[in-house]
Point group: C2
Chain length 646, copies 2
């Protein structure tokens, strides 16, 4: 039986009385909120009022929780606000041990989403926690677990979920056809009753298969009418559908480029067709040439999203949102921020992260990613033409900077049908943390971690302390023992797990480090590929020179000799050796901290994580030795401390 | 419909009269010979006599073909000799354009076998020509194609075939059980009627699954009795079965080591159990530690077969044959000869080659392997304690050197259910060539190639000339553009296709080149791993020093600096650059030679090979550039001729 994660508190009758406005008695959303409040074992014999009010300051999804002698009150402008507030109330009540609660919380981002890369055969692309719980044998699953998943999302304030892989093939094409549309509607109704909108990934080439159309040219009337009719049909069955996510012209997927059209022409065609139904089109910017010749020294994949999209600013419809990966490459352990943020005042943007640990240990290594996401979100873009106050990435994607109509944050999810949902028990901290962060990006990484630990494992001091240490050590540790200084990609091709320093060096993917016996790195300043110049000033100048580029990104931006001195005072080569020895030691330390918890937490959970740490400790040594030996053999420069290199 | 390869000559009635001894009229073998002679379109209105004689000089499988005014006579001591002679007569008649034929041919090797790595689900391990024609959906197939395959084998004098993969799992375990035994018998009868014995690969661990035995310890009485009973059952159903091939203690397969027994104890247990049925046990020597730590600088996989088997000489039963790969590693484009040959006077040996082009272009590149096999077979072992005359590898495996009871040659086959049997039409030259070579190792590579070309494509001068050139260029070309100087293994892991210079460098397979910015290679002389000392003198001394080691094996035996001067006068690095540029040019030249044949040969065949050459030309450039760039980046030594390095 699967766990309930931090919602593991169900009881038959907790004696709590929940009252609410008469006109809400038929609301399935409010009913779910009431059920939750009355079945939480922690809320014994409380009085709780759910009050639908009209308070402009709270907007659509915010809530106010207050405490008085009469009990607790949760106020909101909408039913969604009430249910988000109810789940939050449960968490706060547990975290505050029943103390008075008086908070007003309003989500910073309009869109707070998870993307599932689930395939309809039940497999998950880049899934590391079992198979899909949405799909099996080319059919949709709706059961108790689906409902629990909706509860999980609602408990964190997520308000959108894309259930199928962006690579839409086979049976998944029928999610918008008669074959599956009734089940999609049922799923949509279920999620809506927890404040979450359902979205689908869409096959841009769908009309090609209709013999009367046989095209996907976005300027072709027949194509336009095909989509209008299709969206009419879909929304007739699934009126609550949020809209569609589209991966076009990317990694073999069809798109407007096939017809000599640009990305805006492609997105706008769909956006206009869906407009009358209130749907949105989320258009991924992960467009690049994945057939690059590795001998080609001029093309720079890092520029791709910028080069394809930047000049289209202002030409997208209002109900299009560009979904842009946090970095210019692909979810590496360290990348700079994608330069499109803060440079498109007139185009809705949302940021895409990945909590599926594709390149960060695949949920066999612990890697708490929230500190990394925080660094990205706090990055100052120095946006020009500002309309609002801030111009950090988080301000841009919250809509503050430019007043976007739609914007926000999404993550490729790390969930699957494993009993613990996320493969590694500690990976649930990313599922939790990303939800909290997209609701409130001002939260700190430690603050979020503490919440999750206490809601999941309880309040024992050693438990809280040790798991917090593990989580906060984990991302830096993984960075230390894997590819150094922002160079990325030293992983085994295809599977993306384990070290392979030259794994992508002679391939078509545009991800090269070009290490020789003297230097490593691709020069990306104005004399190189020009990538550094794509940023607003003073970022562009900062990245122009090695002396001003932050150490952790030196090899992303610059081609440097191994004896180049970093700001840390160490040479590049000594930095590599030192961090790799440290990282493997950190893995041992994290395992040791976990070992201390035996008997203090649920034993099944203890054993699952224990087994994963056994692997991580060994595998981090493999990373250490392969990366160090790779550079040692390239240079024959000895480690200053004389540690073993092979 | 599949092709008939060089047997594409069937006609309804060629008017030929075949007479034979009265007592042979019920012989299915003779019936097949007669059918063949009467249905070959080339043999119009001939008179042919098949004559079973008693002539000690011809032994069991030889034949004499003679011509007189009365017609042709094929004489042999056995029915098998008559059918081998009949097929050979057809080939000679075509090659000699009907001229008089007077030859006596006696196979040099007692065992002339093909090993199929076919799985019962229809897949083929290392198969590059479609799926299995023996198995599909966990069942055996016996149909017209099976019969044609038997004809093909017989036409080359093959006398044994192992139909299932040496990794015996799942349904394949039931080939010796009731589930499949009747079909195995039928197949055995079919092959026997073409002079070919059927063999099976065996799961050494089979008795473990019998709860009354639950062991595979070769000294355990219960295990011994289990196999005796099993072989009794099998031979009761399949009396013509040749015996079994065993891969034990290798790459995860179980074996005697599990029980602390040596390889002889394992093999002998089976050999004694099968002896009363006249069966033999073919025991593979591909035993090595496939969990090696790449940091371990002392273990040398090349020594494994020698270290595990050499000291057991004389302790194997008479009906055990050791099947030893040609080289100490695994079918690389260039390896030295396994040092076991010529060092085990008292143990039956056969040599294992691979015509499945696992490491030699996977039947997408043309690679005529016979010249390579010839080099191996002609290698002088300087065997001591000789009983016969010669001591070349071919003398050892023919039994000449030591008078082995069973010995010979086998190859992992390159066949599958593709229409042309071998994926690449030109790969059929290896299937043909290996058969001819195992029958008569004194044949020359060109001689064999010419036979095959003329029997397959006819006698047009340009056709014969160009294809001969292509075949003879192909193995040297592949060696030139792939891993240099005997170093091997610079291929993509698992799939073994395409360049990946460090692909096996940090893995568990024991196949390392340890290239640094100064040197490359593992030292295998007496001061290194000692591998070179395993040979008889003067080979051991020859391989001891770089100065006396042949250029093409320098990096197999020695760790050398890139500026080491080869006997060719070139440095190692310049040799690498030069050969790689040459190899890719050779691929272009071969493609050009093929292009000239359009219209001169069957157009389907032309187009198939044309398409493969398109790939080979491009892929050989990829090999060239990746290998050259790898070494260029390691050393930053420029090409003397200034050609592009990346």
């Amino acid at each position: 039986m699967y766990t309930k994660l931090w919602l593991d508190y169900i009881t038959d009758d907790n004696g709590t009385v929940v009252s609410f406005n008469d006109n809400l008695k038929d609301s399935p959303i409010v009913q779910n909120a009431v059920n939750e409040l009355k079945s939480c074992a922690f809320l014994k014999n409380l009085n709780i009022v759910l009050d639908l009010i009209n308070d402009g300051s709270l907007n659509d999804e915010g809530y106010r929780i207050s405490t008085s002698v009469m009990g607790y009150k949760i106020e909101a402008n909408t039913e969604n606000g009430l249910i988000f507030g109810s789940f939050r109330f449960i968490a706060l009540y547990r975290l505050n041990d029943g103390e008075d609660i008086n908070v007003t919380e309003i989500p910073a981002n309009k869109l707070r989403m998870l993307n599932h890369w689930d395939n309809m055969d039940g497999s998950i692309e880049r899934g590391y926690s079992g198979d899909s719980f949405f799909f099996k044998d080319n059919d949709l699953i709706i059961n108790e677990r689906t409902r629990d998943y909706a509860r999980i999302l609602c408990s964190l304030g997520y308000n959108g979920v894309v259930i199928n892989n962006v690579n839409v093939k086979g049976a998944a094409c029928d999610l918008i056809n008669d074959r599956f549309i009734d089940k999609v509607r049922d799923l949509s109704i279920l999620f809506s009753s927890f404040g979450v909108k359902l979205y689908l990934s869409l096959n841009y080439a769908a009309p090609i298969d209709d013999p009367d159309v046989a095209s996907a040219d976005p300027l072709d009337d027949k194509v336009i009418r095909w989509w209008e009719k299709k969206f009419d049909e879909v929304y007739a069955s699934v009126p609550k559908l949020g809209g569609f996510l589209v991966k076009a012209d990317s990694e073999g997927r069809p798109g407007p480029f096939t017809y000599g059209r640009n990305q805006a022409e492609g997105a706008n065609m769909l956006a206009r067709a869906i407009l009358r139904h209130g749907g949105i089109i989320i258009w991924r910017c992960f467009v690049y040439n994945c057939q690059q010749d590795w001998r080609d020294l001029k093309t720079d994949r890092a520029r791709s999203a910028y080069d394809y999209f930047h000049d289209l600013d202002g030409s997208f419809e209002d109900n299009v949102v560009l979904q842009i990966k946090n970095g210019p490459m692909d979810f590496q352990i360290r990348e700079p921020v994608t330069p499109l943020f803060g440079k498109m005042p007139n185009t809705n943007q949302m940021i895409e992260f990945q909590i599926a640990q594709e390149y960060t240990g695949q949920q066999r290594h612990v890697c708490y990613l929230i500190p990394w996401f925080k660094e990205v979100l706090e990055f100052e873009t120095y946006a020009t033409d500002k309309k609002g106050k801030g111009s950090r990435v988080r301000d841009v994607v919250s809509g503050e900077t430019y007043g976007y109509r739609y914007s926000g944050m999404c993550a490729v999810t790390n969930t699957g049908n494993d009993d613990n949902w996320t493969g590694h028990d500690l990976a649930a901290a990313n599922l939790y943390g990303f939800g909290r962060l997209s609701f409130d990006p001002s939260l700190g990484s430690e603050e979020i971690a503490l919440e999750w630990i206490r809601l999941t494992f309880g309040n024992d001091g050693k438990v809280v302390n040790n798991i917090l240490k593990i989580l906060m050590m984990s991302w830096p540790a993984y960075e230390k023992y894997s590819a150094p200084l922002g160079i990325g990609w030293m992983v085994s091709p295809n599977q993306h797990y384990g070290p392979d320093p030259d794994g992508y060096e002679y391939s078509r993917w545009g991800t090269y480090h070009k290490a020789t016996c003297k230097t490593i790195g691709l020069e990306r300043n104005s004399e190189g590929t020009g990538y550094a110049t794509l940023y607003n000033e003073p970022n562009a100048s900062m990245y122009e020179k090695p002396e001003t580029t932050p150490d952790e990104l030196e090899l992303f931006f610059h081609k440097l000799p191994y004896d180049y001195k970093l700001k840390s005072g160490k040479t590049v080569i000594q930095h590599i050796y030192d961090t790799h020895f440290e990282g493997a030691e950190d893995a041992e330390e994290m395992a040791r901290l976990w070992d201390e918890l035996q008997g203090l937490i649920d034993n099944d959970s203890f054993k699952r994580v224990f087994a994963r740490f056994e692997h991580q400790v060994a595998h981090s040594k493999e990373w250490r030795d392969v990366i160090n030996s790779y550079f040692y053999r390239k240079t024959l420069i000895e480690d200053e401390k004389g540690r073993p290199l092979y």
